[in-house]
């Protein structure tokens, strides 16, 4: 299913966060969204998944404006894996994954055998079959991410929206999840932080800075040292991967603030380590 974002603007907390973003994602391709913290990735993804109405512009799935779809129809088109999770009440992992079947079922009644089979398959695919009977709140961060991804798969939608799905995952599970994403025939929009991982796993890369889409293209077109400097304020070196020959970025240091640059006041959030280093 093709996803078109047209002249999208979105506010969050009364503040404009996404400004005039247009992007087309052909059916079955993976679009990676990169950008510093606060650049509007999550807000853009919320608008694409219909969780927050944009203040201007529109989102189309195969040409259909998503505002024309009911909540339930929308949930049969797009599954979301987000950061938020309420933990007030405990829920077993299999039940959590089975929630993905809600848009396909009725308001009452049991989960069908078909539902349970789909849920178990999804758990097995993300390597979480052994967690089936555990309580979700007792899982580690990485285990949770995999279970939430299984729920998104169980929802069985042509479009997947993933907001930083590799958070908390160890490197093996990061690669596994992104390979899984790449292998599906679904249209995927995914926000990522690891530039090299994004280059390896996405068909196209969009870079957001201060709510604007400043670069869009194949990973090789988009990811170069100039962009890393201007968007993230980080000096880097591009090398060819000795085995695959693919371009790989090595990060050297924070860029020195340019005296004639009037906007160094918005550097990417420093990590704790960087902040304490004099």
């Amino acid at each position: 299913m093709r996803v078109d974002v047209e002249n999208l603007r979105a506010h969050r907390g009364g503040r404009p966060v996404v400004t005039d973003v247009s992007v087309s994602v052909p059916s079955g391709t993976v679009l990676g969204l990169l950008g510093p913290n606060g650049s509007g990735k999550s807000t853009l993804l919320r608008a694409v998944s219909g969780l927050a109405a944009p203040s201007a512009g529109r989102v189309r799935f195969d040409g259909t404006d998503i505002t024309a779809l009911s909540r339930r129809e929308l949930a049969r088109h797009v599954a979301v894996m987000a950061q938020e999770h309420s933990e007030e009440f405990e829920i077993p992992v299999l039940d959590l994954v089975l929630l993905g079947r809600i848009p396909h079922g009725r308001g009452y009644g049991r989960d069908s055998d078909h539902d349970v089979t789909l849920a178990r398959q999804a758990l097995a695919r993300v390597g979480a079959a052994h967690l089936e009977n555990r309580s979700f709140s007792a899982l580690s961060g990485g285990e949770r991410q995999r279970v939430l991804f299984a729920r998104a798969l169980t929802q069985d939608t042509p479009v997947l929206v993933l907001d930083e799905p590799t958070n908390h995952l160890d490197i093996a599970h990061q690669l596994e999840l992104l390979d899984r994403v790449r292998a599906t025939d679904r249209t995927v929009l995914v926000a990522l932080h690891d530039l090299n991982l994004a280059a390896r796993s996405c068909d196209a890369i969009g870079v957001l800075a201060e709510g604007r889409l400043i670069s869009l293209g194949t990973p090789d077109e988009v990811l170069h040292t100039d962009l890393v400097r201007s968007v993230f304020g980080v000096e880097s070196t591009a090398v060819a991967h000795p085995r695959s020959g693919r371009r790989h970025l090595l990060f050297d240091a924070r860029s020195a603030p340019e005296p004639n640059d009037p906007t160094p006041a918005n550097p990417p959030a420093p990590t704790e380590e960087e902040a304490t280093t004099p």
Partner: protein
């Protein structure tokens, strides 16, 4: 088989560290890998619900019959059952063969049975209302009265008594119902902002309005004639002692309607367990569900408060007990909570009128005496810290 065990042996202690599951008592060294059924809370919950629902229904029947037979006029449980069946099924031989006296018949059919049934209905309604409230405000400490419903009902009823309109049960009940609905409407309006009902704002608005209403009630109580104080206290503490079959109509109808509503929205309520955004992305219209469930809970609570006053803690404790036993899946939890509430309150009422015989303990006092210690335990055990205002 042996290979599988070998392959899994290494991760077992590590996995044991990761899960903070309760220790099963099995020795960690050389223990076989956990079988799929070990620690299966899900399957245990399903099984518990399958046993508990019929068990609670039978217990409810037993308590109602027992409650109908105990009192100053001698009626055996068997006779009580015969009287009840005789009234429901026409043409039973024992109704006309003189084996039962009119006094016995009146005691059971006019006084004890309506009372036991009202207690059961009120308990079921309050438990269902509590379960709905806790689900839609994402808060395990929520209960039916948190929206200021009982405080609003209190103002309605007490104003009615103090203004001298009368002390008829019907009038006081009607005033209480109006007060309850007005309070709910006020809290709902206050919590509604930017097209969204924020759970946290809802709770805080309810608590604040509840305090305001309680203050009004206290002021009215302290400044009124002494003769009114007894009626006021009787209402505020809650009682089903004046029950007649007519009193049953309003709460029963509310229970039926809301019960059906809850049954059709059980899966959507499950989705709400994992958060508003997640539920929305699963196709649930969160605002509509929250509004619907709040109105449903207010209807239940208002109709109960109108006929039996503010009976505390049922709506808080019963859903929690149900959740602990059968898990948080509403398709299992709601029926267990509903029946559990009925059994709990019918039993409490039975105790309330027999423990201190011939006088009577107000029902609200008894439920609170059982409920308050549980609530305190919940405060210690539950993640009360995580009920952050900032969320």
């Amino acid at each position: 088989m042996a290979q599988a065990t070998n392959g899994r042996r290494a991760p077992v202690p590590f996995r044991r560290l990761l899960t903070n599951a309760r220790p099963t008592g099995a020795p960690p060294d050389g223990a076989p890998p956990p079988t799929p059924s070990a620690g299966n809370t899900r399957r245990r919950g399903v099984l518990a619900a399958r046993i508990l629902v019929p068990a609670l229904a039978l217990t409810l029947l037993a308590v109602v019959v027992l409650s109908s037979s105990v009192g100053t006029i001698d009626v055996s449980p068997a006779e009580a059952l015969r009287i009840i069946v005789g009234h429901l099924v026409p043409g039973m031989p024992w109704m006309s063969d003189g084996s039962l006296t009119t006094v016995q018949d009146n005691a059971v059919w006019q006084f004890r049975l309506p009372r036991a049934l009202l207690a059961a209905t009120a308990g079921a309604a309050l438990a269902l209302a509590g379960a709905l409230m806790q689900a839609v405000v994402h808060n395990s400490l929520a209960e039916p009265y948190i929206l200021g419903v009982s405080a609003g009902a209190g103002v309605g009823a007490v104003s009615f008594i103090v203004l001298g309109v009368g002390t008829s049960a019907l009038g006081v009940g009607g005033a209480a119902f109006l007060g309850a609905l007005a309070a709910t409407a006020a809290v709902y309006t206050l919590a509604h902002k930017n097209g969204r009902i924020a759970p946290q704002r809802l709770i805080l608005a309810g608590v604040a309005l509840g305090s305001l209403f309680s203050a009004v009630t206290s002021y009215l109580t302290i400044t009124t004639h002494a003769q009114n104080v007894f009626s006021i206290m009787f209402f505020l503490l809650g009682s089903v002692s004046a029950a007649t079959m007519n009193h049953l109509a309003l709460p029963s109808a509310a229970l039926l309607i809301v019960g059906l509503y809850a049954a059709f929205h059980a899966r959507a309520l499950n989705a709400l367990l994992v958060g508003d955004d997640a539920a929305a992305s699963l196709g649930v219209n969160v605002n509509r569900l929250r509004s619907g469930a709040l109105v449903a809970a207010a209807l239940l609570t208002g109709s109960v408060v109108a006929v039996s006053g503010g009976i505390g803690f049922v709506g808080l404790i019963i859903p929690h007990i149900a959740r602990i036993i059968v898990g948080s899946d509403h398709r299992r939890m709601l029926p267990v909570a509903l029946l559990g509430g009925a059994v709990f309150l019918a039993t409490c009422d039975f105790l309330a009128r027999t423990l201190a015989d011939p006088s009577e303990i107000p029902l609200g006092v008894l439920t609170a005496m059982v409920g308050a210690p549980f609530f305190l335990w919940l405060l210690r055990r539950d993640r009360a810290d995580s009920v952050g205002v900032g969320r």
